[in-house]
Amino acid sequence: MAIFYILLLFIITAAIIAVETKNLLSAVICVGAIGFGASLMFLFLRAPDIAITQIVVEVLGLIILIRVCISRELTFISGPREFFAVVVSVVIIFAIFLAGIKVLETLPAFGTPIFAEVPDAASQTYVEEGLRKTGAANLVASVILDFRAYDTLGEATVLFTAIIGATVILRKKTKKLLEEPDV
């Protein structure tokens, strides 16, 4: 139990540094600290698949983020926005935080999953029947590739769309075509 608190405090510290530091490269490195802390946390939460995926995605994401802030001048932008707007948004965010804490009290305590208390929950079926119905020893794989395969297909479509968007925005070719005069 203590390990969760230690890791969560580590992640929160890294997040605060990432938000408040002036240097953009240090902020990006702190995002890496958050990601690897989260990966360790997933490992201790008994989710090895998520931990492995998180490490891979974190490395790729760090490369993308470093790509944007390396060799760019004027990455130091100091000072917040207008004072009044900042105060109003901080007050609203604090109110959201208090309301959220109230809502979290209605959840079952940490360490007692909801599906254990409901006999016919979907997760209960997946755990009991996953191996027999799909033949996958890894129940996570049996959920994403068999019970909820359409979800996975849809999310692959979302990923594909995001990558197409990034490619179109970053493509150099269209700019040249636009600059040429019409024939």
Partner: protein
């Protein structure tokens, strides 16, 4: 209590995305929110002394893949793990999209400051 800390992480990300002026900082805030939500969903399925949802040979009793009640009563929830697995990969795709928008904006205006960009446009 771990839920509350997780929510604090989400609020930090929200603050960063709302208050900061730097475009890359806003992207970082959105990423922090993603981490917080993923962590929260995985935490919902955790149980004390639980096992990873991976069947090993000792858990199988009887023919036809009947699982022992020990495994059924100690496995963590596989459903949030399966959904978060795809959500993490999608967050990488959306990060690439946001960063490419940042790069193009920097090439066009020469700055990451969103207030500057607004002034130049209008």
């Amino acid at each position: 209590m771990p839920y509350a800390l997780c929510f604090l992480l989400f609020v930090i990300g929200l603050y960063c995305a709302v208050v900061k002026k730097n475009m890359v900082k806003i992207v970082i805030g959105i990423m922090v929110m993603e981490y917080a939500v993923n962590l929260f969903l995985i935490m919902l399925g955790y149980r004390f002394g639980g096992k990873a949802p991976i069947v090993v040979e000792e858990d199988i009793v009887g023919a036809g893949g009947q699982l022992s009640s020990l495994f059924i009563n100690s496995s963590v929830d596989p459903l949030p793990q399966a959904l978060v697995l795809t959500a993490i990969v999608i967050s990488l795709g959306s990060l690439a999209l946001m960063i490419s928008i940042c790069i193009r904006t920097y090439e066009r205006y020469g700055t990451f400051d969103i207030t500057e960009i607004r002034r130049l446009k209008g």
